[in-house]
Subunit: 383 residues, 2 copies
C-alpha cells in the first residue's frame, strides 16, 4: 500500500509516453487532509534539476497537497524551457485538484540534459488525477521507477497512526542524497515544523549514509506529507524513531537494487572520537574503487581499507587500527591478524568493522561493491 | 638511460626472488657525487608504509647518496618487523657503499599487508651493489615495475647539465601522489634547499594533478638526487621549468599505462576564479564513476560532468556553464549545445573542457576512464 497506507491519501500511476517502453511514468499523490503539513530535503548538488528548483521554493510554505512525479526524463540542464514545463505541471495539477500551485511539489527522474515532452507529461497528469485512488500507492510506486528492477515500498504502524513510503533509485546513490525520490506519508497530526525536524533527523541517519557509487544526483528529493487524518497527535520522539527506521529500511531497499552490484556492504566504524570521525572514515572507505573491486573479487583486502582510512583527518593512531571483515579480525594493530582465508565473502551481505580505538562513537555507512556489471550498465546506456 | 643519464650516477636492477615471477625486483641507485643534495616528497596518506616512515626521517638531512627500491612487496602494515627490514636494508647498503645509513633512501612497492623476505631482499641489495654500472638506469627502471606493462624513463638536457627520471605506477594514481615511485637525478649543482623547492613545484603541477582512480597509496615517493658532477650551477628557474616538464612527461607515461584504462582524459578547467577552484572542479569530475564509465562507453554525457561540477564549492553560476568534449561544445549555458553526435570518442586521448565563466584561472587534471578491465584487474588479483 505504501504511500496510500495512511488515511487521507490517494495516488495513481499511469503511462504518458515519456518512457519509450510504454511503462507507467507519471505518478500523482494527493493529500486530502484535513491537514497538509509537509517538509522536504533536496540534493545539495549546486547544479539542480528544474523540478528541484521549483519544489525547494514551494515547500517553504510548509504545505504540500499534491505531488507529481515523472520518470522518463529528469528535466535537468534544460534551461528556462525546462523550468516552464515544471511550472506548467504544477499549475495544471493545482487547477485539476483545486489547490494553489505553490501547494504542488514536482519531482522528475530519468535522463538528464533532455527536455521532456511537455504535452505528454501534462496529459499524464490529467490521466493520473482521473485515476486517483485510495489504493493507488503501488501503481504510483511503479510509475516512478527508472533503472530500478523492482518498486520500493514500506509501511510502519505507529500508535494510532501509520507512515507509508515509496522510493526509486538504483545508482548515483551518494551522501546528501542520491538519485532517489522518496515519498513519505503519514496520517499523524504534525505541524510543518515537526515534519521538518523528524524528516531531517531521519534522512541524516539513513539516506545520507548511503554511498553506492560516490555520485551525487541533481534531482534527489525526499518529501514528507502529513494529512492528520488519523486525528492522533503522536509522541514526536517515537514517530521520529519510527520514521528513521522506515527510512533506513527504504535506504537498504535502494542499496540492494543498486545497478550491477553483487554485494551490499555495511561499513561499521567504531571506537571513534566522534560520530563525525566515524562518518568520515566510513565514507572514505565507501569511496575506494580498490576496496570495492576487492569485495567484488571476494578478496578480504584489509590493506586497501587501511589505505582509505589513512586519507582521513579522523583521530586514530596509524599503527594501531583493527579491521574485521564479516567478523574475522584480519587486521590487528595495523598489521596482519587472523588468517584472511577464514573470511567468507560468498553472501551478498558484507560487514566491515573498523575500530579506530580513539573513543566511543560509532556510525555505519552502506555501500556496494564495484563490479563489471556496474561499468557495463553505466557505459552502455546513457542516464 | 634514465637515472644514469646525468654524470655521477650508477644503478643496477637484479632479481632477488621477491617476485614469484623471478623478474628483477631490487634496484639500487648511487650518487657518486661530488655532491649529494637531495629532496623528496612522500604520500600524504597517514597510514604510511615502513620505507616511507624511514625515508621521511632520513631525507631531513638534505642528503641522499644511495636509493634502494624493491618491488614484490610494499612492506606496508607490517609493523615493527617490517620497519626493521627497512632499517636493515639501509644499514647494509650503507656498509657496502661506505656511507651513513641516514644517507640511504629506501622505497618499496607491491602487495601491502605482507612481510618481505628479509634475507632475499638483503641478498638482492648485495647483488645490485655488485652490479652497479654507469649504464644501469634501464635495468633499475625494469626492477621497480609491478603491474606496469613497460618501464617508464625520461631524460631532459639542460644548459650543461642533464636530468634523468625513472618511475613505476599503474594504478592507485591519485593526487598527493599515487602508488608511484619516481626517481629524478641531475648532475647540476644544487643545494638541498634548491632541490626541495624545484621538486615541490614540479610535483604539485604534475603528479599531484594525476587522478587515475581516486585511491591514494601508502608508499608514494618522489626523490630528487643532485650529484653536481657537471660542475654547472644552473639557472634555477630554468631547471625548475625543465623538471616540471619532465615530471609531466613521466606522469603521462604513468597515466597511459594505468590498469585497464581505455582512455587518457585531460580535464581542462578554464574561466575559473582561482587555480584552486579549477583544480577542485577538475578533481571532482575525475572522481565521478559515472563520468568515467560514460567515456569508456564513448558516450559524451555532459550531464554527468555538470552533476560533478555541482558538488564543488568553486565560483560559478549553475545556470551558465559551458562544456566541450574533444572540442565540441555539447553543453552551452548549462543546457544542450552542439549535437553530441559530433563528438568522436574512439581515440585514446580525450579532452574535456569546462568553462566556469568566473575568471581567468585554469588548470588541468588527468585521469582515466573506468572500464570492465579495471574492475577485473583489481578484483581478480590482490595488490
Amino acid at each position: 500500500m505504501s504511500v496510500t497506507a495512511p488515511l487521507g491519501f490517494r495516488a495513481a500511476g499511469v503511462p504518458a509516453g515519456l518512457k519509450t517502453s510504454g511503462d507507467p511514468d507519471v505518478a500523482v499523490v494527493v493529500n486530502d487532509g484535513p491537514q497538509a503539513s509537509a517538509a522536504a530535503v533536496f540534493t545539495s548538488n549546486r547544479c539542480k534539476a528544474n523540478p528541484v528548483l521549483w519544489s525547494e521554493q514551494a515547500i517553504k510554505s510548509g504545505t504540500a497537497r499534491v505531488l507529481v512525479v515523472n520518470s522518463g526524463g529528469a528535466n535537468c540542464y534544460t534551461g528556462p524551457e525546462g523550468f516552464a514545463t515544471t511550472h506548467r505541471t504544477a499549475e495544471l495539477a493545482a487547477d485539476l485538484l483545486g489547490v494553489a500551485p505553490i501547494e504542488v511539489q514536482v519531482a522528475s527522474t530519468g535522463l538528464i540534459g533532455m527536455l521532456n515532452d511537455r504535452e505528454a507529461l501534462l496529459s499524464g497528469v490529467r490521466a493520473a488525477v482521473a485515476a486517483l485512488d485510495g489504493d493507488g500507492g503501488p501503481a504510483a510506486a511503479r510509475a516512478i521507477m527508472t533503472t530500478d528492477t523492482r518498486p520500493k515500498e514500506a509501511v510502519v504502524d505507529g500508535a494510532g497512526y501509520t507512515i507509508g513510503a515509496m522510493a526509486k533509485g538504483a545508482g548515483m546513490l551518494a551522501p546528501s542524497l542520491a538519485t532517489m525520490i522518496v515519498v513519505l506519508t503519514t496520517d499523524a497530526v504534525l505541524t510543518p515544523e515537526q515534519c521538518d525536524t523528524v524528516l531531517r533527523h531521519a534522512t541524516s541517519r539513513s539516506f545520507d549514509r548511503l554511498d553506492s557509487d560516490g555520485c551525487q544526483s541533481t534531482n534527489d528529493t525526499v518529501l514528507l506529507m502529513a494529512s492528520g487524518a488519523s486525528g492522533v497527535e503522536p509522541c514526536v520522539d517515537e514517530l521520529s524513531k519510527q520514521l528513521e527506521a522506515l527510512c533506513r529500511e527504504v535506504a537498504l531497499q535502494l542499496l540492494s537494487d543498486a545497478e550491477g552490484a553483487d554485494h551490499d556492504i555495511a561499513i561499521d566504524v567504531c571506537g571513534a572520537a566522534s560520530e563525525d570521525d566515524a562518518l568520515e572514515v566510513g565514507r572514505a572507505v565507501s569511496r575506494s574503487a580498490l576496496f570495492k573491486t576487492a569485495i567484488y573479487g571476494r578478496d578480504p583486502n584489509w590493506g586497501r581499507i587501511l589505505a582509505s582510512v589513512g586519507t582521513t583527518q579522523a583521530a586514530f593512531d596509524p599503527a594501531d587500527l583493527d579491521v574485521a571483515i564479516n567478523g574475522v579480525w584480519v587486521c590487528r594493530e595495523s598489521g596482519p591478524g587472523e588468517p584472511r582465508e577464514r573470511v567468507d565473502l560468498t553472501s551478498r551481505a558484507v560487514t566491515v568493522t573498523i575500530d579506530l580505538k580513539a573513543g566511543d562513537a560509532a556510525a555505519t555507512i552502506w555501500t556496494n561493491d564495484l563490479t563489471q556489471a556496474y561499468v557495463h550498465e553505466n557505459s552502455a546506456y546513457s542516464s
